[in-house]
Amino acid sequence: MGARYSICMSLIDDTLREAEKEEGELLLWILVWSELAIFGALLTGFMVMSLLRPEAFAAARQHLSSGFAALNTVILLSSGWQAALAARRRTTPLLARRPLICAALLGVAFVGVKIVEYSGEIGFTGTEVALALFELYFLITGFHLLHVLFGAFILLLIAWRPSQDNIHLMTTLWHAIDLIWLVMFPIIYLA
């Protein structure tokens, strides 16, 4: 009787844990998609504005530092690689600490490079013509930068007290931030 009861309880526990996991996964993807939708709308706005004011955008774009942005792509890809190493199924939460810290520090490096880039670009925002591009540019890249900064902080927190679920949640979000940058980079700087 006692054995049957404990089997039943363990089955109920497993089912509840599975349901909680599915719920967490759904919330994670709602969060990821809300980020993608926001950045999708912002980037579409940027492209529409560049069609409406082509000369202003072409002139202002000359002052964007695509070299720094390319360096930041490499930094963010390296960070994403470390986050993916941390999220491997066979990695124990404690072993995931080092790659999580590396991913966070590379995120901080991204922020540092972006601040240096901004310091060179902010001087060109004076004219009204350039302001049209730079307002959108700072809005989109600044919003992304805040995501990177906040994400790096959360990665450090998770590295301090790692758990498999939190690692999966945060590294997935981190990759979404990475994905947004990969699409944003050519749209804003190159194409």
């Binding site: 999708g40 560049s50 490499v74 066979r90 990759h175 700087y189 194409a191």
Partner: protein, 92 residues
């Protein structure tokens, strides 16, 4: 101790992503005036996004709908960027 297959795969993906990033930057810097350069840069960006989704986000073994919608998001925005670059001369 040998590295696990997943670790090796992630390293290969990382290496491919860096190579694609360098190719994209090189095309944009040295071949910007050549026809098709912008399309090449955008295709390289899509390939990077695809690798990131499949390998870093571990989507290769998961339902295809999720990865497909992520590809769709990236593909749609990059196609819009390509269309913009093609119709931009008409606006100037």
């Amino acid at each position: 101790m040998n590295p696990t297959p997943r670790r090796e795969m992630l390293f290969r993906t990382f290496f491919a992503l860096i190579a694609l990033a360098i190719c994209g930057a090189a095309v944009a810097t040295f071949a910007a005036n050549i026809p098709g350069a912008i399309a090449s840069v955008l295709v390289l960006a899509f390939l990077k996004a695809r690798l990131l989704v499949l390998d870093f986000m571990a989507m290769r073994d998961r339902p295809g709908v999720l990865s497909f919608t992520l590809f769709l998001w990236a593909g749609l925005l990059l196609t819009m960027a390509l269309a913009r670059s093609l119709i931009l001369p008409a606006f100037t």
